[in-house]
Point group: C2
Chain length 406, copies 2
Amino acid sequence: MKKNIIVGQSGGPTAVINGSLYGVVSEGLKQTGVCRIYGMINGIEGFLHDHYMDIGALDSTNELELVRTTPGAYLGSCRYKLPENLNDPVYSQLFEKFDEKDIGYFFYIGGNDSMDTVSKLSRYAAKTGSDIRFIGVPKTIDNDLVETDHTPGYGSAAKYVATVVREIATDATVYDNKQSVTIVEVMGRHAGWLTAASMLARKFEGDNPVLIYLPEVAFDQDAFIEKVKECLKTTPNLVVCISEGINDGRGTFICEYASDVGIDNFGHKMLTGSGKYLENLVKEKIGVKVRSIELNVCQRCSCAHLARVDLDEAVNAGIYAVHAALEGATGKMITFVRNKSVPYELSYGTADVNIICNKEKPVPAEWIINEGSDISDAFIDYARPLTQGYVELPTKNGIPLFAYRR
Amino acid sequence: MKKNIIVGQSGGPTAVINGSLYGVVSEGLKQTGVCRIYGMINGIEGFLHDHYMDIGALDSTNELELVRTTPGAYLGSCRYKLPENLNDPVYSQLFEKFDEKDIGYFFYIGGNDSMDTVSKLSRYAAKTGSDIRFIGVPKTIDNDLVETDHTPGYGSAAKYVATVVREIATDATVYDNKQSVTIVEVMGRHAGWLTAASMLARKFEGDNPVLIYLPEVAFDQDAFIEKVKECLKTTPNLVVCISEGINDGRGTFICEYASDVGIDNFGHKMLTGSGKYLENLVKEKIGVKVRSIELNVCQRCSCAHLARVDLDEAVNAGIYAVHAALEGATGKMITFVRNKSVPYELSYGTADVNIICNKEKPVPAEWIINEGSDISDAFIDYARPLTQGYVELPTKNGIPLFAYRR
């Protein structure tokens, strides 16, 4: 008997999350056991309010192909946590809606919070004897999911950070007759994978960014100032990359050291990032020209530096998810297993979603060197293959063309 | 008798300022009347301290070709204003250095401050009977030079802004079940050309960015809040683009309304951008989710969205400068004359540098519509041709390869 598929996206967007959506939809349409493919609008939260679309119908247009290379989340996203208590009425409501639409396969593309949703729905299904299969498709620029070598979205974000930091370093050195410090703040609250990718920006040994700080290691402000002074002797235009989540190792983010200071015109606390805080610290303690740059949301939504490897893997994760579900898997997340780095070789697998959700994978301690101010070359072997390859984007009037819901 | 060329770069970098450098050097090397080509390191300021290189020698390597597509300023830049008084000894020092190096032709790639340098040096030459020819090659992402249709660097920066604003708008709408305002602050202190380019991000009529504010029109905070409220009714995830230099029309920048408020840990005033100020204003007056994004230095130094038209024109400006100087011109800047927009057709000319320096060209008043909150379609005809075409960049390990001085 034919069943329908439903697919949703959840959490922050990435450059390739729509690649996985494309994978699920295009592969789902090929299956003889599948009839229609629904997309939840704004994830499980939107679906609860009956917001969904017939995304399989896009296949008859060029739109589905355009979805593949569009950043953001085509279906819209949500940050909605299902109740811990499986007896909560929201579950029976959801499963009634699934049954009404004759859903046989549920795919959720997201990070560890989204895997929590897959975990709860699959456990509720097991409890109630529902045969709907629930599969998670990983996605996060943070690269912090356990049980997988890496996550779709990371490779393109890493390439974005490496390229942009190289550009910023080029800009920062045009007045190289004057000393200066440029602090670049990269996304990553708890895991430093994306900030570590800034080391790929170096054109030669000792090139900028000379200093790199991750949240995995306690940040010592005095030691930082000493390092900066030391490095300025050989690199007059110093670029430092930091994770937004650098912290003192005792539970306080570095940005929090500043947050109780500024009050805006309206009496609100002015939130300062860690980069801004360190900018002021360098100005005060060293007195050289200093600026901080917070890389903006383009880290997660730019298509400028799409890595072909990353996009292909994101699509394949969606394809593999369809196969896994049709073969009977449920309560699983698709995982990446690296066979080797040189030449790079990957296989796909699955892991129990219950041991993935709500966990975070840090950058290995042994890759963080020089008193927490640099990253070892082992990271290059890990990350570089993920950033490879160019994706030609469809354009119109010179600007990349994006799919969007009408 | 053969003479030498000297070339320098000055002011802020652009994505194609090295394209003009490439044009001067590659064309200079072809001239029978030219012997060597020197590059000033860090502009006229560096040259005063005898910092220069034999940039013509790069021709025997691949490096010169790499310079063409490298953003930033390969020779390094400066912000140095020559004295108003032509009797200042710095002039005789400079001309002695020129004569020592047998300089016949001086090229300076920069914006209106740099044209001031060309003006003064050419006037000193006229006064003292020197036959060195001084030519300015325009460069600025601000597009604010008079006497030229546009400036090299603007097209790529405009394409960058349009693309990134489209990406940001895509990111901003993933939670489209909630109202939100995203304020994007674009470079441009006095002229709004670059901010206006954000209108090219629209995918359809009425698309984001729905509101665009330039420094050319007085900014009324109350009217702004009313516009935002009105627009949120039809566009729940609203994107607003503003120039950093928006002002109240009475000489005060909007960002200055906030700047006397926050004091950091060290007692310094915390400088807030106009975007951050408006973020707080929207939070206070409307209460919806709001964030501001300051587009960083990549606006001027990213090679991600190089426009082929812009790069080609930058190279041609350098080539044309060499021809103009050899034909006897001095005290001139290379200008762009648009023959028509559809199909786009450009010719090159020269204009008296004295009527260019220290002047700024605003966006025409008739192109700024809807009480200063939008840009007319006439701008599209003007700007779109300049953003066209793709440039394939040399890469290594997946990251764009840049030239740099050893």
